[in-house]
């Protein structure tokens, strides 16, 4: 008689946390993307005009924290134990982080929109607590890794850049606040220390050019944290999905090393408007070029002739690193005059990074992660007892292709509208991107339907055994 299943319900793998932990982050992330695209369609000026205003900053944080950070954090909880073959340090910390994360980013976006920097700082502090829990959980998880490799190093570096991004962001917010009520509150020790620390950090950041500080903050977050994670984790996932091998661990390690070195240089160059900024950008581009060579080698050595659409989407995102890095090199030139066109090209650079490389890569990987989580949630206990569907059977591939095609078209139109500083064109682009989001939402609905209406079939009849006397 078959024994009782040993798998905890909705637990995706021996090392992974409960599937509900990543799923809740992912659902919040996808909803945030829909909201951000809707707001861009309503306010196309966010891309059609220069990027230093409250609505741009609010929508950017909705995309970076609400969409990208939510999905990345959920996926990291799921993928890092898999990629590093270890166990997550604490699932409880992940649940607490979710609470701080949602309250923090939602409040920040709202307060950026109202341009209430003091409240941005308060909600940002809640977000920072969540980041602290996330980083602590991951650092403890990394401490369990027996053999460090390029993947572990890239994840560690991404965490360090995340911490730096949050600290710079909070310091910039503190620099814009006047703590006029600080004096009567400064009687107790910890509060006085915190307020003095905030004031000191704000005063320190005030010594730098504010636009440069904002660019350094954004770069550390998007490239340092998110692109770094994409580069590191893909060294494990790309060979796994394409049935291939990492071709040169040394080349991969150099690419991550150069990326970090260039990032460090560009961070300080942006902050201080240093003339050596192009050199730092060149080092970063060299790191990305080495990564591109490694990806090409992995794909050339692959055994799977046809790549699935999730992987194609991910590779399309990586291809966008080429125009993104080229534009970055151009914009890093110190003698470049700040004309309206250059301002729009800076917007385009941000668009290519946020909605291009990072978002497209995430959208591709979502078609790996979410079917996987749903499958485990519903079918892992049935395998061997019933006929269960494959991961690719959980969603509609034509809808996925339609989503990919409309995303590519929407990105192209939005990019054109950004360069042309045309609000109507940006609006059309955002609406097409919104259509792509609807395709994603439809496929999510198809996938989640399996949780409530599983598709199980009986096994084939088995051949008869030999008859013997009892």
């Amino acid at each position: 008689m078959p024994e009782t299943p040993v798998i905890t319900p909705l637990k995706a793998a021996p090392n992974a946390p409960s599937a509900f932990v990543p799923l809740r982050f992912i659902v919040v992330g996808v909803l945030s993307l829909g909201l951000a695209l809707g707001l861009t369609a309503i306010h196309p000026a966010v891309l059609a005009t220069y990027h230093y205003n409250q609505q741009v900053i609010a929508i950017t944080h909705l995309l970076l924290l609400g969409w990208i950070a939510s999905v990345v954090m959920g996926a990291v909880y799921q993928l890092v134990p898999v990629a590093l073959e270890t166990r997550l340090y604490s699932e409880r910390l992940a649940r607490w982080q979710f609470l701080f994360h949602v309250i923090g980013f939602a409040g920040m976006v709202w307060m950026f929109w109202r341009w209430d920097m003091k409240q941005v700082g308060h909600f940002g502090s809640a977000f920072a607590v969540g980041v602290g829990l996330f980083v602590w959980n991951l650092v403890r998880t990394l401490a369990r890794v027996k053999r460090w490799n390029v993947i572990a190093f890239a994840i560690g570096a991404a965490l360090a850049w995340l911490v730096l991004t949050v600290l710079v962001g909070l310091s910039v917010a503190a620099g814009k606040c006047a703590y006029e009520y600080a004096t009567p509150l400064t009687q107790s020790g910890w509060l006085r220390t915190t307020l003095r620390g905030l004031q000191a950090a704000g005063a320190f950041m005030g010594r730098f050019d504010q636009l440069g500080a904002m660019h350094a903050h954004a770069h550390a977050g998007v490239v340092g944290c998110f692109v770094m994670l994409i580069v590191g984790v893909s060294c494990r996932l790309l060979p796994m999905f394409a049935v291939s091998e990492l071709q040169s661990p040394r080349r991969a390690a150099w690419s991550v090393g150069l990326l970090n070195l260039g990032l460090l240089g560009s961070f300080f160059a942006m902050l201080t408007r240093h003339p050596l900024k192009p050199l730092a950008a060149l080092v970063m581009a060299a790191g990305l070029a080495l990564y591109a060579l490694e990806v090409r080698a992995i794909l050339r050595a692959r055994r799977r002739a046809q790549l699935d659409w999730g992987l194609r989407q991910f590779l399309a995102a990586l291809a966008l690193l080429i125009p993104g890095a080229t534009l970055g090199l151009f914009l890093s030139w110190p003698a470049l005059a700040v004309t309206p066109l250059v301002g729009q090209l800076e917007n385009l650079y941000g668009l290519l990074g946020v909605l291009g490389v990072v978002s497209l890569a995430i959208l591709g990987m979502l078609y790996k992660i979410v079917p996987f989580l749903v499958w485990f949630g519903r079918y892992s206990g049935e395998i061997g007892r019933c006929r269960v569907p494959n991961l690719a059977d959980l969603y509609s591939t034509p809808v996925q292709i339609a989503g990919f095609a409309s995303y590519a078209a929407g990105l192209l139109v939005t990019a054109a509208g950004t360069v042309l500083a045309s609000e109507p064109v940006v609006r059309v682009g955002a609406l097409v991107l919104g259509g792509s989001w609807l395709c994603l939402a439809a496929n999510f609905a198809l996938m989640f339907r399996h949780l409530f209406h599983p598709r199980l079939a009986p096994l084939s009849p088995q051949p008869a055994g030999k008859a013997v006397l009892a």
């Binding site: 898999v82 999905f241 061997g384 051949p463 055994g465």
Partner: protein
């Protein structure tokens, strides 16, 4: 009169267990290294496509269930090994077709 389990029965049962990511059964993927039958006990030595495979617990659980579903099997043991390491060339012709593998 009782039935005894045969290797053909075991392999047929294991053909019902799929790797859901690759969309192919374990036998045709070449993941089953050895089957030993001792009376009503079946012992399977198998591997997975990658050591970090997130499906490992679920697939080995599925293998055990498929074996215990065979009438004559009273006990099933699944040993997961990483040597020799799986290679796409270990897949059968049908497995290669299902995986869409191209020649090495």
């Amino acid at each position: 009169m009782n039935e005894t389990v045969t290797e053909a029965m075991v392999l047929a049962a294991l053909r019902e267990v799929i790797d859901p990511e690759l969309g192919c059964n374990l036998v045709d993927l070449g993941l089953i290294y050895d089957v030993q039958i001792t009376g009503a006990t079946v012992r399977v030595r198998m591997t997975l496509t990658t050591p970090g495979c997130p499906m490992s617990e679920s697939i080995t659980w599925g293998v055990k269930q498929a074996l215990l579903n065979l009438g004559p099997v009273m006990d099933a043991e699944v040993e997961l090994v990483w040597e020799p390491r799986w290679h796409p060339d270990m897949a059968s012709e049908a497995g290669r077709g299902a995986l869409g593998l191209r020649p090495a």
